[in-house]
Symmetry: C2
Subunit: 301 residues, 2 copies
């Protein structure tokens, strides 16, 4: 599914591997109990498993391994990022929010389990992400675990993803490209940037040495988001797994509706190139991250 002309063989293999590993990990970690809570666990598994590209875990493992860190620790952290991502999708799809009935080619969580369970499954996934980061097997050093928690909470909270979603909801007709870029940075790029930082931090790289990686990932996140918005009007539903044209129908604004397709595509390309420019110091070891930046603009799903 990931394999296409827009990926290199290395990237295809890396996506496939991390996907299997993260799904296996989540399958073992989210165990459905034999009581009335079962429906909640089923909804959590439905929201987080068997879908998505696993871009975030790939970023955590790739940046962690770039510095010789542990893959098993990176996978736990990547799984936490996927739980947060799945939570934001489950809540954003709710009727009171974006009102999307299709996600990753399946009925969205509230469509499959009802609104109440969708709200609670999101809450439970968010809590579970932090539960994972608090585990001793994430890192020997408790202060590294606590800082991963603090920085993830910042990326997903009111100043980050939740704040970006509110900006998106209240955006009016007169919104300009700079405001949209700021909103996208909060809504999408903050978590993607966190993934790259987290991988490096697991490997013991100090905060100041992670700055170029964070810039890489933030640019990557913006490029991904612009292409998501292009695919919303140009994509093939079977490959994107979403209904197309939702943003336009809802009167929502993004960089594609503001700049037009051609300019938006050019911006995605230049943003991906900026991402690649941040990797100079890492030499050939960072080729996977370069491939990922190229994939971000060439993908069709």
């Amino acid at each position: 599914m990931i394999c296409s002309s827009s990926t290199t063989l290395d990237l295809t293999v890396a996506f496939g591997r991390v996907r299997l590993e993260v799904d296996d990990l989540l399958d073992r970690l989210i165990v459905v109990p034999d009581d009335d809570r079962a429906v909640l666990f089923h909804a959590m598994r439905y929201a987080v498993m068997g879908g998505g590209k696993r871009l975030r875990p790939l970023l955590v493992t790739a940046t962690c391994e770039l510095f010789g860190g542990s893959r098993s620790q990176a996978l736990l952290v990547g799984a936490a990022a996927e739980c947060v991502h799945a939570q934001s999708l489950a809540h954003d799809d709710l009727p009171c929010m974006d009102d999307d009935d299709l996600r990753r080619g399946k009925p969205s969580v509230h469509n499959a389990f009802g609104e109440a369970v969708a709200v609670l499954a999101g809450d439970a996934l968010l809590a579970f992400a932090f539960e994972l980061l608090g585990r001793r097997d994430v890192h020997d050093d408790g202060s590294v675990r606590a800082e991963l928690v603090r920085s993830l909470a910042e990326a997903v909270g009111a100043a980050g993803m939740a704040g970006g979603q509110v900006m998106d909801l209240v955006a009016t007709q007169g919104v300009d490209a700079a405001e949209i870029a700021k909103m996208q940075e909060l809504k999408t790029a903050a978590l993607i940037g966190w993934c790259a930082e987290a991988g490096a931090s697991l490997a013991g790289i100090p905060a100041e040495a992670r700055a170029s990686l964070t810039r890489y990932a933030t640019s990557l996140g913006l490029a991904f988001q612009i292409v998501d918005d292009l695919l919303d009007i140009e994509g093939i539903p079977l490959r994107t797994g979403k209904r197309l044209g939702r943003d336009k129908a809802a009167g929502r604004h993004n960089l594609v509706t503001i700049l037009g397709r051609d300019e938006a595509r050019a911006l995605a390309s230049s943003t991906a190139n900026q991402a690649i420019d941040c990797l100079g110091q890492f030499g050939e070891r960072a080729n996977l991250l370069r491939d990922l930046a190229r994939f971000s603009v060439l993908r069709d799903h």
Copy 2:
């Protein structure tokens, strides 16, 4: 407001003090930005400030100070517990859940800010609780902070509060008292138990020595919940700040609807006495916790 014949002077003073301190702390920590995210921060402040008894922060400070721990650290942890509590109320009040339009004498969050902002404000408060626990000023030892995060996440996630709320939603006519007690334990007592454990853990008390405190707080939480359910049918709206008779009207079950008022009141009393029995080893220093257990059954709000 807390002062009544059911509290001792010490407990009245302790409630008043922790309330001022926690409100001041949240006021300084949740700062409204000057951009489109402002409404989200206003909703967070509305949900978490200026209401509630602050039972949870009182438990954290009281158990922390019982062992000579730092009050300022306990207040940060207590503020985190209040954020989690406010999140659960904001989401439980949603139309798709319990559909409550009144909370703490004010319109519930979705009534004041709309459903979308209420969902996001809950998400942001949950994230903010973990952001607080990850801060260095919560405790010097990062592994203490990380364990507070892990255990809080467990208490609020699918196996804890969110799981209890799902059990409440799916409970059918044939539910028995044991099942209700289990549901209440997850929905309410787990977080209250965590507060007592967290206070002791801040003060450096090892897990095995915290067991009696946790049993105390879990019993306290159950007694509080039974009395909440009694107040739902007997209380004075002006003091409880909620519409009364909601559970009965919604066909929801709790220990009062199952056991009847008299038996439920007797169970609350015996549960509060069990809580007090757990405190024997702590002598007079634990008198505030004893007063709190007595207050849990005698209160009228």
